[in-house]
């Protein structure tokens, strides 16, 4: 199952809710302002690093670049483009959007 998160973890509880409810082995894709969750050295970085033991984390490259943080991404986060987003939506049996 694929989970998308499109909100900044510093502003809203979307990422937190996703991490608390996604099943082990799930794919989690950060898009839009959600990509701030992939930021290295931030106050949520440790929580996101921990989550990588349980989930596969992706971040949308175009959204990272738009925000100037493409070179500040946590190790282990897989950066994909919109085609990769489509692939993830296909590979997983359903998609849950954490708004």
């Amino acid at each position: 199952m694929l989970h998308t998160v499109n909100k900044s973890p510093f502003e809203k509880n979307s990422l937190e809710a996703c991490l608390a409810h996604a099943a082990e082995g799930s794919a989690i894709l950060l898009i839009e302002d959600g990509v701030y969750g992939a930021l290295n050295g931030s106050a949520v970085a440790e929580k996101v690093k921990d989550a990588m033991g349980k989930f596969t984390l992706y971040a949308l490259g175009p959204d990272l670049k738009a925000r100037g943080i493409a070179d500040k991404v946590l190790d282990g986060v897989k950066v994909i483009d919109y085609a990769g987003f489509v692939d993830l939506a296909c590979e997983n049996d359903k998609v849950q959007a954490w708004l």
Partner: protein
Amino acid sequence: MKFTIQVSEGPYTHQASDSAYQFAKAALEKGHEIFRVFFYHDGVNNATRLTTPPQDDRNVVNRWSELAEKHNVDLVVCVAAAQRRGIADADEAKRNGKDADNIAPGFRISGLGQLIEGGIQSDRLVVFGD
């Protein structure tokens, strides 16, 4: 694979419509089918032909209209959400006693059942919202 996409926010204010468009475009380029794009909540505001965005910015509404024309994508605007927010086609305008309509080419107004049908008929439902 067959996708239905739900767009829950209007143009420019939230990135939801942009992301949905990029996703739809990428899916079509990969040979997938977009069964339907369903515009709900403020998403119905993507369907007005009265926008005039700055010339150095993308035209969100036209982009959807063009996608519909080029790939025969079904762009459905929820009627209840549209009535609350002032999106009307000629029929709706007449039925509700309005002196104008504002729907953009390629969009059609229909009921919420179209979203459920999208969920039933498609392999995946992908929601873009706020």
